[in-house]
Symmetry: C2
């Protein structure tokens, strides 16, 4: 059996790309989860070791790509800003994860075949 | 209907990632196709507007990730080097594309739902 290890539940990473813009991907999906959890874009970004600016930029990219914003927010100010995932945001996340599940279930044999060909010893040293 | 346009047959991009290393993805798969076509890593790289060094680096990454090399080559020299896709390379490509098909067929409804929420007017100006 290949040693893909417990930290590697799946090799699969899925992105939704339009032209040169990534509309959704593993990082953006995690950011949405964390915004839902924390109610704050900057707190969500911090949880991903991401700058305030970077987190906002990812949210802006997502919001610009869809007909309705995925995240609604009030920017900073003395009391701090709040943020929430919209119905559109929840729907896009849901369908993004549906796609991943479709690839993992329908493509299970392909994924297993590839995993069986991975190098057995993978050095993480650099 | 969303205007995804003829240049956007699918939003879907799929990568196979181990740790921080991309073992296979759209660019590497295209490079393999072009190596098969041209019999040369540098010619394949040129066809993708990629430097000789970059093309070799992608091949080295792929070869290091699997138990058998995906590309066999003889490096440059006066007569130029030749390269071919190995049986392992063809198998990995085949199963990578099987995964994409699984996501696109099994996830067709999810993909359509996301496409239905794309911004209708996408500006490519910058």
């Amino acid at each position: 059996m290949p040693e893909t290890g417990p930290q590697n539940p799946s090799l699969l990473r899925l992105r939704l790309v339009l032209g040169d813009r990534v509309l959704m991907g593993p990082g953006k999906a995690q950011l949405l989860d964390l915004i839902r959890e924390t109610g704050s874009i900057s707190a969500a970004g911090r949880a991903m070791s991401m700058s305030y600016k970077r987190a906002w930029s990812l949210v802006d990219e997502m919001n610009a790509g869809f007909s309705e914003p995925l995240v609604e927010s009030t920017r900073g100010g003395p009391g701090g800003g709040g943020a929430r995932i919209t119905e559109a945001g929840e729907a896009v996340l849901h369908h993004y994860r549906g796609l991943i599940e479709a690839a993992q279930s329908g493509g299970a044999a392909d994924l297993a075949a590839i995993e069986g060909r991975l190098a057995r010893v993978v050095s993480d040293e650099k």
